[in-house]
């Protein structure tokens, strides 16, 4: 094959790639670097410090917001994984009328503009008279409901992709050997599904932690969540404290993403990201 097809070896293509990666990474690297900067104003490098991590840790409302966001992500992940996986099994296993319609309906929360879903949930919780002054953690329920609605379709995609490689004769063998329907499901189907479940769950956690718009519209006036707290801090003026808290969140999502990719192979995650149309 001719080397004239080796576009990736051309100098201008390499320079272009380099520039694009600098464009993509420089802001994030700068944000992380300045969380360690010993200066109130985020402009010039003054020396290394961990002060702002301590400050962020001791900032009661920031800490509460962070905890709330982790709780939301945890509950949303549990629910999304269960209902997403069940739906994947339904779509994988059964033929039923209007199946393409069902598949399209599940994809809708992914493709419509996020702000429309956000204001729809806001209108919904206000029209059904959902109380604003519930005690913790019940006040987080509207946010969890929204997060599950856009996360479980992704779990379904991942689990269904995993099940596509399942050999149905294993289930038949299990039943022939005397196992009940439930035993077969529990000891044959679920173990095969497990990597898909774990990857789907990690994806749901990342989606929940990455979300801003839905959280912004579903948080009650008294509910503190990390994105909404950071939003108000940013509007007030950038501080290294925000950088420190953001760095912690970046580290968490980065770790989760890398684990998920390990589990499924990076190609699958690439396909995933491609189907993740509206996010973030």
């Amino acid at each position: 094959m001719g080397s004239h097809l080796d576009y990736s070896r051309r100098l201008w293509v390499r320079l272009w790639l380099l520039l694009v990666f600098v464009f993509l990474y420089a802001p994030i690297v700068a944000l992380v670097a300045f969380s360690f900067n010993d200066s109130k104003r985020n402009i010039v490098w003054q020396g290394f410090t961990l002060d702002y991590y301590a400050k962020a840790w001791n900032n009661a409302s920031l800490f509460e917001a962070f905890t709330n966001s982790l709780v939301i992500a945890f509950v949303s992940t549990l629910v999304s994984t269960v209902i997403g996986a069940l739906l994947a099994l339904a779509l994988w296993r059964f033929r039923f009328p209007f199946k393409p319609v069902a598949e399209g309906a599940v994809a809708l929360p992914i493709v419509i503009p996020e702000i429309c879903m956000g204001v729809a949930l806001l209108a919904f919780f206000s029209r059904v008279g959902w109380p604003n002054d519930l005690v913790w953690p019940l006040n987080l329920l509207p946010i969890v409901a929204g997060h599950v609605a856009f996360s479980f379709p992704f779990v379904t995609v991942v689990v269904r992709a995993r099940m596509a490689g399942f050999d149905r004769s294993l289930e038949e063998a299990s039943k022939d050997l005397g196992a009940s329907e439930w035993q077969t499901f529990r000891h044959v189907t679920v173990p095969y599904m497990r990597p898909g479940l774990v990857a789907g769950a990690l994806l749901a956690t990342t989606l929940s932690l990455d979300d801003f718009i839905i959280t912004f519209f579903t948080s009650g006036p008294e509910t503190l969540t990390f994105p909404v707290k950071v939003y108000s801090m940013v509007r007030f003026g950038a501080t290294p404290e925000v950088n420190a808290a953001s760095t912690v969140l970046i580290a968490i999502t980065l770790a989760l993403t890398l684990v998920a990719m390990r589990l499924q192979g990076s190609g699958a995650v690439a396909a995933e990201a491609g189907s993740r149309e509206k996010r973030p």
């Binding site: 802001p27 990342t206 996010r279």
Partner: protein, 304 residues
Amino acid sequence: MAFLVFLLPAAFWLLLFFFVPLSILWVVALGEKHGPVEIVITGTLRNYARAFDPLYLSVFAKSVWISGLATLVCLVVSFPVALAISFASDRLKPVLLLLVILPFWTNLLIRTYALIAVLRGRGFANDAIEALWTAAKLLLSPLGLGGLFGARYQPVEILYNDTAVVLGITYVYLPFMVLPLYATLERLDRSLIEASLDLGASQFQTFWRVTVPLAVPGIVSGLILVFIPALGTFLIPDLLGGDSSLMIGNIIERQFKAANDWPLGSAMSFVLLYLTFAILAFQAWRSGAQARAARAGPGRNTLG
């Protein structure tokens, strides 16, 4: 029986927390405001008429313009990237793809916030431009052109204007463009490019008359994947834009928060939704037509 157990939880959740809220929004759009919180549903179409008021129409037009421009910038920036990745060695390919995807797993708010530090008056972007400015001044001064530059560097205003919004959208949604382009270029029949080059076409001619036409499906998916979320964005113009960079998302957000005019906000959301559905329907029709063409005559659709 088992089927219902599998299907019902998801169906229930989707219905209750997605379709019902959207229906409520649709109904609120047909209502009238009576008092600060009371909305009476009268079936009026006035909110839709108001959404097309020249004032809001200009915001719609501006949103289409800004997100369209940002989408095109994404396309121009991404094409060489996708081409390079699809022609990279098998060892390098997953690494490059991972590098494109990773930033996109960071919270949208954090990424937008990170851009502020880069774009502001004394930020890195201005530092880089200042370095270029100083170098150019040093080079051109001996030619007697130093006077063109003025005595001191004036920071370029990149933040809090439309340019910042276009940059922000490009920054946030770039992976949406690279991935579908890569998927198409990866599957492309390379012998066609070889043939074009062997038959005497230059690299430039081959690029425009073979590679780009073959990549059209990926280009269209990428344009749609970037344009739809960009059109509805609210955070990017809110944090990076100036007073005049309002987009539809900001106006909708305002109706639901500060301005407290939910019927108008709902009507605007539905205009945005109908626009999205129209784009998606166009895409479905296009890929359907392509599939039919492929069935009708394999091999003939490649250059069509």
